[in-house]
């Protein structure tokens, strides 16, 4: 029972980590918080729901969700961040992305209503179980875990090993210097937003498929918690976001197991506050490479 709860926690944590990776990638490159990120995550579930309702199969729905989320990311970059690129603009950028988030929530409530909408997949995909070493596991959850971990591994390799990743790291280090070396900073920002948003959209799809419904308020509950996890793991630190997500997921699952589930949120946020005060580089980070930003 305990082991199953821990596995559930890891699955939950992998979804947190997917969103937190987007937050941390955007923060690392632009030094700005993207408060519309949680709403792109929320819309991922609804796009999946809509495409399945229109008769698409799950793989097609995943593809559509990825494309739509990527386009939304481009939109957020253009409306909320393009004009506020200076290092001092972090308050303005936070407010504009919050405004985009408000609009996205309100519009999706107009379309789908404020209540959660049920999402059922054809076939027995959502309920099929598999028994490994005496543990009954839902196949879907394992699939979510594996796919999220793979996505994050791919992102990590892209950032570390490819030309795109080198450009991203250069812009993260200093946009002005990167521009001097002939890097198109706007293009890199767009690419970062597309990558982050696709991951958030797929996380939203995973949450909707796993719980069996889409809801318009997950952006402000689940999505905002990923922001705290990003800070716990270290802002701008991809590995930290992954480990922080898994840690929080497991702690949350254990909290529900032990009957103190209603304090899980408080715990996560207080933990984040403590981390920001005591170890601003994050739980796993060091301050060697990056100074504390003002």
């Amino acid at each position: 029972m305990l082991v199953e709860q821990i596995i559930n926690g890891v699955v939950l944590g992998s979804m947190y980590a997917l969103i937190a990776q987007g937050y941390t990638l955007i923060f690392g490159v632009l030094d700005k918080l993207n408060f519309a990120h949680g709403e792109i995550f929320m819309l991922g579930g609804f796009v999946c729901l809509a495409s399945i309702a229109l008769g698409a199969s799950l793989p097609v729905a995943i593809l559509i969700t990825a494309i739509v989320s990527g386009l939304l990311g481009l939109m957020v970059e253009f409306v909320g961040f393009r004009k506020f690129r200076s290092a001092d603009a972090h308050i303005t950028a936070a407010l504009s992305s919050f405004a985009i988030g408000l609009v996205l929530i309100d519009l999706s409530q107009k379309v789908w209503g404020a209540e959660p909408v049920a999402l059922t997949l054809p076939g027995s995909l959502q309920t099929a179980t598999i028994t490994i070493a005496g543990l009954k596991l839902v196949v879907l959850r394992l699939a979510i875990l594996v796919i999220s971990l793979l996505l994050m591994l791919v992102l990590y390799l892209v950032v570390l090993k490819t030309g795109l990743g080198r450009r991203i790291r250069a812009v993260a280090e200093s946009p002005a210097k990167a521009a001097l070396f002939g890097i198109n900073v706007t293009r890199v920002n767009q690419q970062v937003f597309v990558i982050a948003s696709v991951m958030a959209g797929l996380a939203g799809l995973a949450l909707a498929v796993r719980t069996g419904y889409s809801s318009t308020d997950v952006g402000f509950t689940f999505g905002l918690k990923a922001l705290a996890i990003m800070a716990i793991g270290g802002m701008g630190d991809l590995r930290g976001a992954l480990l922080g997500g898994l840690l929080v997921g497991v702690i949350e699952a254990l909290a529900f197991q032990w009957g103190v589930g209603q304090f899980a949120d408080v715990f996560v946020w207080l933990f984040m506050i403590a981390i920001l005060l005591l170890r601003p580089a994050g739980l796993f980070g060091t301050l060697v490479s990056k100074e504390i930003r003002t």
């Binding site: 923060f27 030094d31 700005k32 918080l33 409306v79 909320g80 004009k83 506020f84 200076s86 290092a87 001092d88 603009a89 972090h90 308050i91 303005t92 950028a93 936070a94 407010l95 504009s96 919050f98 405004a99 985009i100 988030g101 408000l102 609009v103 929530i105 309100d106 519009l107 107009k110 200093s174 946009p175 402000f220 905002l224 922001l227 705290a228 800070a231 802002m235 209603q262 304090f263 949120d265 408080v266 946020w269 207080l270 984040m272 506050i273 920001l276 005060l277 601003p280 990056k290 100074e291 504390i292 930003r293 003002t294």
Partner: protein
Amino acid sequence: MMQDYIVFVGVNMVLAWSVYVILLAGSLSFANGGFMAIGAYASGVLTVKFGMPLIPAALIAGLIAGAVGVVVGFPALRTRGIYLMLVTVGITVSVKAVIESIDYVGGIQGFGGMVGTRPWHVIALVILVGCGLWFLSKSPLQRILDAVREDELSAASLGINTVYVKLVCFGIGAFLAAVAGSFYAHHLIHVTPDQFGIVVSVFIVLYAVLGGTNNMWGPPIGAVIMTLIPEVVRGLESWRPTAFGVIILVLLLIRPDGLLAFREVTTRANKSWVTGKADESKPAKAKSA
């Protein structure tokens, strides 16, 4: 109906000012929704469970929230910029979650039975706070605040205790938000933790930013406009968040200083902390400084 308008407009004006006071020292607070919740619940418990009159209850609630603000703010204000923003988001979420789990104040169902806010309470509060801020803006204190906001390091080198200044502003902001919250709750009769979530905090900040934060008249006017327009224009009520978001976006894009960003006679430096424009007066300021 008229009473509703007066109370809501007045409360929102004071809330916008509570964000403005904190911004005066250069910190952006998303915690004011949380302080408002503390004010609403603390004063509600005092009036309903202990039979205290409203005004002393509101003041005590304000002091409680101010004390919470100072205790939380003391370590939090050491962090700056984006870090402080995250900490204040955390405060609001935590306050809401803690209130939801306390059965004594009704938990998630909410807390009821608070009555007694009269329009003149709110009007008096607005006038008092307005006068206080006006005197502040004419006093030498304003220059200290300007110094702390524009360049903390130089301010500290002039012998200004910057942490103390920011802490006092944070405490006053929390106090104002809590007093406004208690009048708000005693007008609504029944409140739930949901009414004080992070969205409310963001709305309060947006009121202030919409009006413009480089003088004391911007925030309340932003609050009045954003409270009244949806009431006056038929059919806009249900589109409120969308309209609000779009207006804010357009405003940030075309008029980043806010609606009323005229300069007063005082010679203040560049408002880079809210306009997002590059600050020419401090060319040496590196991105990671």
